[in-house]
Amino acid sequence: MYLLDALSTPAQYLPIAIQFAFGVLFVAGMIAISHFLGPKRNTSDKLDTFESGIEQIGNARQPMAIKYFLVAILFVLFDVEVIFFYPYALNFKSLGWEGFAAVCMFVTFFFAGFFYIYKKGALKWED
């Protein structure tokens, strides 16, 4: 009996869970093995942070540039918009021109937003 030939059911995710469990075991095992193999001769200099041989001043937990934050927040917005296209793509033949009109309106707003952030210079990396 081949159960997965049935329609879309949660059972399809069972093999994924098996692969996940296998992946976790594999990764944990490898890290543990490599931890026990190999020499252990720790010195304070060796365990120090390497910054090109220059002594570290302060530590790395310092504020980063805001532009990375801006990229991340724009990514969240655009990502959600992209996700909306997936259900459409699967039904788009049966939805015909009416569905396409709805999506065109959505894309217009998408482009309007894109044009706005483009003109405002939010995508410009060098200030």
Binding site: L4, V27, E51, N59, A60, V82, F85, A89
Partner: protein, 354 residues
């Protein structure tokens, strides 16, 4: 339903074998990619490349693995120790998970039991891949932050920004493909291509966009800014040693392998053998399945070689150029490609609306 699956030991055993096989294939191909990378680099730079360990240096990956295992495992004193170990683990785990939805071949028959060469044919296969790619960001970010090294942190944030920026264009270029296939299942996409011809014929621009995004997602040259040695010493894995470093490097090669398989599956017919009608053939299904697997691997190896060829040919982008390309060029292009594809398909289906 689920209970009957649990009691179906043969089913569980089949899937477990398949999982082990699929993960091992990924690891072996990644291992030999490191060898091939050096061989290709050697060929392009007119030198022999690795040739001491075994015939043609074929044992080189094993020598590397033994070396990485026997190196001292350093956890810097100023790092966050738990997250420092978690980082490479997450990177490797995300790399290993992609292969679950890829159809490696049609099916083979062992002892009267049909075995589909796919761990799970999810209805949402493409979205699943997308989700795993999204998870790949964490390995880099956690590892870079936990190192407590300024270079690592900068590289990690660079890498994460780059990955998320190119994910958008990647998602949009796939939607144009989905208009043609009408399914998110990777198996369904391959079967559709066997009937209607490869998707590359209908989606050349979409493929190009996907290719560029795949390069960026794998942190491969020309997009290897998280590992830009001249700016960041060594990149986000600067503080790592031993197999943890090995995991980061390995995850990258597995990702390259997986993107090659994906490109072959989505745009180049997957396990479809060119100029050969599988449905009409009278071959034994097992032989046919293995031939299909061979076809997929051939396409994949060609893509991997292309990845390497590009790496040793093209110099690295500047970071602002990279962001410009991702946001200002690829994203609008992918959107326009999507709309044009939609209009063409709808006109073919229903004619003009007026």
């Amino acid at each position: 339903m689920l209970l009957s699956l649990f009691t179906d030991w043969a089913f569980l055993l089949e899937k477990l074998t398949l999982v082990v096989a699929v993960v091992s294939i990924g690891l072996v191909v990644a291992m030999y990619s490191t060898w091939a990378e050096r061989k290709v680099a050697g060929a392009l730079q007119d030198r022999p490349g690795p040739n001491r360990a075994g015939w043609f240096g074929l044992l080189q990956p094993f020598a590397d693995a033994i070396k990485l295992f026997s190196k001292e495992d350093i956890i810097p004193s100023k790092s966050n120790k738990i997250l420092f170990v978690l980082g490479p683990g997450l990177a490797m785990l995300a790399a290993v998970m992609t292969s679950a939805v890829i159809p490696w071949g049609d099916k083979i028959v062992i002892a009267g039991r049909e075995i589909t060469l796919q761990v799970s044919d999810l209805d949402l296969g493409v979205l699943y891949v997308f989700a795993v790619v999204a998870m790949g960001v964490y390995g880099v970010m956690i590892g870079g932050w936990a190192s407590n090294n300024k270079f690592s942190l900068l590289a990690a944030i660079r890498g994460a920004s780059q990955n998320i920026s190119y994910e958008l264009a990647m998602g949009l270029s796939l939607i144009a493909l989905l208009f043609l296939t009408g399914t998110l299942s990777l198996k369904g996409i391959v079967v559709g291509q066997q009937e209607n011809g490869w998707n590359i014929l209908y989606q050349p621009l979409g493929f190009l966009l996907f290719l560029v995004c795949a390069f960026a997602e794998c942190n491969r040259t020309p997009f290897d800014l998280p590992e830009a040695e001249n700016e960041l010493n060594f990149g986000y894995h600067q503080e790592y040693s031993s197999m943890k470093l090995g995991f980061y490097l390995f995850a990258e090669y597995i990702n390259m392998f997986m993107s090659s398989v994906l490109m072959a599956t989505l745009y180049f017919g997957g396990y479809d053998i060119p100029f050969f009608n599988e449905a009409a053939s009278t071959l034994n299904p097992t032989i046919l399945g293995l031939l299909g697997f061979g076809a997929l691997m051939t396409k994949t190896v060609l893509f991997i070689l292309f990845f390497m060829w590009v790496r040793w040919t093209i110099p690295r982008f500047r970071y602002d150029q990279l962001m410009d390309l991702g946001w200002k060029k690829l994203l609008p292009l992918a959107l326009i490609n999507m709309l044009i594809t939609a209009v063409v398909v709808l006109v073919k289906e229903y004619g003009w609306p007026w």
